[in-house]
Amino acid sequence: MSAAPKRAFTVVGRNVAKSDALALAVGTERFTGDFSVSGALSVAVLLSPHPHADIIRIDTSEAEKIPGVVDILHHGNVPEVLHTTAGQGYPEPSPYDTLLFDRKVRFVGDRVALVAAETKEASLAALGKIVVDYVPLEPLFDPERAMEEDAPRLHGDDAYAPLPVAYDAARNLAGEIAFTIGDLEKGFAEADFVEEQVYHTHITAHCALEPHCASACLDERGRLVVISSTQVPFHARRTTARLLGIPTGMVRVVKPRLGGGFGSKQEILVEPLVAMVTWRTGRPATYVCSRKEVFLSTRTRHAMRVRLKTGMMRDGTITALSMDALMNAGAYGPHALTVVSVAGGKSLPLFNKIPNLRFLGRSVYTNLPVGGAYRGYGATQAFFGLNQHVDILARRVGQDFLDYVKRWHIREGETSPVFRALGEGKEGVDQIIRSCKLDECIDRGAEAIGWREKRGKRLSPAPGRVRGVGAAVSMQGSGIPGIDMAAASMKMNEDGSFNLLVGAADIGTGADTILAQIAAEVLGLSVEKILVLSGDTDVTPFDVGAYASSTTYVSGNAVAKCAESCAAQILDVAADMLGARKEDLCLENGSVRDLRTDKRVAFGDVAVKTLYGHDQFQIQAQASYVGSESPPPFMAQFAEVEVDLETGKVAVLDFVSAVDCGQPINPRLVEGQVEGAALNGIAYALWEEYRFDGSGRMRNPSFWDYKIPTLGDVPRLRTIVVSSHEETGPFGAKSVSEIGINGPAPAIANAIYDATGVRLFDLPFTPEKVLQALRANVPGQCGAESRPATEGKEA
């Protein structure tokens, strides 16, 4: 629907520098914590030491005696408003199972009380003086047990789902979605053979370097202003107002620069705390999570168990496939339904020629840290199993993995019934794939990694070390169709520049720059002339926020529409000024040119005439966009690994990502998204992991014990951007922020198998696990693979 280019791109497709990059490199840009809020109270939060307990008494009398303590909040003195912390559209598809402070704690790290004091020292000292009497309850850690009759129950009868979706607190069921297409039993019966495996993914952390933080104050007229590190300013405003029991319009949420999100800040966790303190005391308040609090108390990537069962003919035709996903939601259910829904919804359409298909996704409560949105959003967990499964199937019928995928993946002009079957809280949307260059991604990636030379060769650079290559393919989406809405507004200034106001939240992705490039391209203007302001609920129009890979596509389309409206107004005025017909005019280099006479009028002159001439008005526009479909980006990723047979250590030597995200608006920013996601995915595959003790307490809540990669950990890491044209996207673009994290784990698993003939079904692939699997000399460590070990050599 975007502006059809009448000329070669001048801004789109260029590596324009991020508009905030220089100020960030110098250090003048401001993040939430960099706004000095004078006289702000320091907020500290008491976390539960128990995985599951009733609070029978909270005594704050000693804490109140600490000099400087101003307010203490706990379940006894804040309103009980059931809500979800998920920052999603309203009503949210997540259950309302959470109170700001509750009488019950449900995981180690759950919030018990809050102290607001004049200094950080005082608030921390007061925390230590709060006496809480707990009655421990039996904890539930095993998601497989969660729905059993005698399992401990986490949530009471009052918890509910605001949308008509499956939810049953009595059975610890935080969300469920299922569909069947065709006749599964018939499909399995027709098959020449059936493969069945079980894959497990684990709990990990986002590790945005800026911890969750927010400040609040009252403005001159008593309205509440919240500055927050949030991906979802408008959802944060709505939920905060609801928890305080005040009208939405009484709250302003401002999103400054953000120090990374990756989904962790699609959660309304810190805003209500500072807002509540400020509303009660009239004093500004600020809260910055410690790194330990971020690990213990915020949100994680959900662990998932995915059982895949496939019936296949000897020629490779799949007759039936069943995916049964059980997700560990943790103690509360933000995103519990939608992440498991996306697990099926974004993975199964990739292989769209399966006549008999079943998906069952269930999300269950446990007394472990709470899962949330995390880049990839369930697709990552599903593709881990699915890509290994396809590798197993292709090997079984003697076909190369890449050849097999190329024969069976979804293509341009095709659809999948899964698109309609799986939505996010409601039915999905039918869509035809209009752009898919996955074949080219596969071919170019294979060439780069040296697939034909290395696959199945088991090259050994030294005794005890062996190499292999593996691949994985994936898709994601571009926003949630029919749900995600973005709006933009623009106004023209005397010098021909434009202010572009968007609700979209640039969380470090470069969204502000991308959106400026789209507007500049429509207007034939240089990108510096588009002045972007984003994510301030008082100033900018609405946008759901930065999630679901929505910004480039959904917000980008809103910006394109808005800019087109401004362009039309410019042409009207310029036609008059030039004495020309509109259809003879074009916009280029910040001026309007009459194609017949070659006469020009500069944008600045147009603006001055409209602002100061006769019958003045301002050239300005606003536009909204909601996607009726969600065109998926596609990706093929390749890993070359070296396995040390003595130690079990897996080293990634080379990693290639080839992506089709439509027309890249800014190729370098595309590469940046893909490389960041790929490295995050590699660490997810090899070592990052929440480790728990027997009482559900995370044992490694620091960067010393939860290692994330440094520069020295980076393998050769390459990105190939394969251009396509998505006709519904702005200038042909699709979104790209999440997809790159889907492939590393399965590509590495498939490479380990290629090297050793041993298949790993459980993430992460720590040396201990790899060695155990190697020594067991059976293919796999859990979920039996139905083939003898020797078969691994046939590839």
Binding site: A21, A25, E29, R257, G259, G260, E671, L679, T710, V714
Partner: protein, 165 residues
Amino acid sequence: MQGRFRVNGKEALWTFEAGATLLDVLRENGVTEVKEGCREGHCGCCAVLLEGVLVDSCQVFAATAMEREITTSRGLGDLRAPSAVQQSFVDAGAVQCGFCTPGMVLATHALLEERPEPTEEEIAAGLDGNLCRCTGYVKIAEAVRLASERRRAGGNCGGGGGCGA
């Protein structure tokens, strides 16, 4: 207690608690380009140069930094005259969220002062104490190489920082 601090060539008299970290004292006094990412001495977001040596300011008692030259990213260059390192981070696309960038820029500066033409291993070692979750480091390494070239070519240095070789 009170102490005299020298930040980016400017002197200031600040009051602080005896046990305060340099990170807290800097940020409380408006030196907010020094970021707090972990307070564990691991992420490098709070890095500063103390007499030219790269340190995590969360691991330094403010009292020990008194009367010593403290350099932050703003001491290397400004918006009108960024340092070669800062401009290279922009040009290489090494800045995503930018929370790690002031520390990365300082680490790169310190590295290039020591090793004007670093090897890949030296780049990895030099930036080992600075975490980035956004970029995958590919473009950060490119920025370091680009900055090395530019500094050696002598151009585009800007700012108040030493331009090394």
